[in-house]
C-alpha cells in the first residue's frame, strides 16, 4: 500500500519506511503543510475532499510514471483528507533512489503530477468566508473535458 488517502494524521516516518532499501542512497520527502498566510490572506483551516477510489488509482499511476523514468526508484505517497489545521501535514511524498539527483527530480515530478491529475480538492476557510481552490480562479481549463497532453506530461 504505497499510495494512500487517509482521514488521519500522517506518520512521515511510516511513509519513508516504505521506500527504504539496500539499494537506496538517497531518500527525499516532500511534506505539504497547511500554511497560515497565502498572499497576505489568513487561513483559519483547510478542508480537503477526494474522489478516493480514483485518487488512489491516480497516485498509483504517478508511481508507475516515476518507475518508468527512474527505474531504480521506490515511491510512496499518502494524502490526507478532512479538516486540517495550520501546520498539519496534508501530503507526504517519499522517493528513494541510488543517487541523490534522481531522488530530488522524481520527488518534484510527483508533487507536480498530484496537482495535475489527482482528484483532490482543497477548501480554504477564512474569517470572512471560504472557497474551493482551483475552480473560481479558473487558471486551468479543460476545454476537451480531460487533461491535455501537455498537462499530463510536463
Amino acid at each position: 500500500m504505497n499510495y494512500e488517502i487517509t482521514r488521519n494524521a500522517i506518520d512521515v516516518q511510516e511513509v519513508i519506511d516504505k521506500v527504504i532499501s539496500r539499494n537506496a542512497g538517497a531518500v527525499t520527502t516532500f511534506i505539504g503543510t497547511v500554511r497560515e498566510l497565502t498572499y497576505g490572506k489568513k487561513t483559519l483551516y483547510l478542508f480537503y475532499e477526494a474522489y478516493e477510489a480514483m485518487a488512489v488509482k491516480k497516485l498509483e499511476q504517478i508511481g508507475r510514471e516515476i518507475q518508468e523514468r527512474w527505474p531504480d526508484s521506490l515511491t510512496a505517497i499518502t494524502h490526507r483528507v478532512g479538516k486540517l489545521d495550520i501546520t498539519d501535514v496534508a501530503v507526504v511524498i517519499a522517493v528513494s533512489t541510488p543517487h541523490r539527483d534522481d531522488a530530488y527530480q522524481a520527488n518534484r515530478y510527483a508533487i507536480e503530477r498530484i496537482k495535475e491529475i489527482v482528484p483532490i480538492w482543497k477548501k480554504e476557510m477564512w474569517e470572512d468566508g471560504e472557497e474551493w481552490i482551483g475552480n473560481q480562479k479558473e487558471t486551468v481549463a479543460y476545454p476537451k473535458g480531460k487533461p491535455e497532453e501537455k498537462d499530463l506530461h510536463d
Binding site: 501530503v91 483532490i120 479543460y142 480531460k146
Partner: protein, 77 residues
C-alpha cells in the same frame, strides 16, 4: 442508468454528491449539457470528466451502469 458524482464546488452548487440518470448511447457532451441546463451551471468547460475512475474525452459514449465523475480543477498537495 448512469450515476454522476459531483465534488468540491460542484457538489455545493448542485446540492448533492450524486444523481442517477436514465441515459445510454449518448456522449459526455450531452451529459454536460443536461447537467448545466438542469442546474444552471455554466462553468462545466473547466471540468474534467472521469468514467469509471479514468479520465475520459468529451466524445466518450456512455453506457448503462457507468459511473461518471465531474472533476473540477484539482487542488491537492
Amino acid at each position: 442508468m448512469i450515476k454522476v458524482l459531483f465534488f468540491a464546488h460542484l457538489k455545493d452548487v448542485i446540492g448533492s454528491e450524486s444523481v442517477t440518470l436514465e441515459m445510454g448511447g449518448e456522449n459526455i457532451i450531452s451529459l454536460k449539457k443536461r447537467i448545466s441546463d438542469q442546474y444552471r451551471i455554466d462553468s462545466l468547460h473547466t471540468v474534467m470528466v472521469a468514467v469509471n475512475e479514468e479520465f475520459a474525452d468529451d466524445s466518450t459514449i456512455l453506457s448503462d451502469g457507468d459511473i461518471v465523475a465531474f472533476i473540477p480543477p484539482v487542488s491537492g498537495g
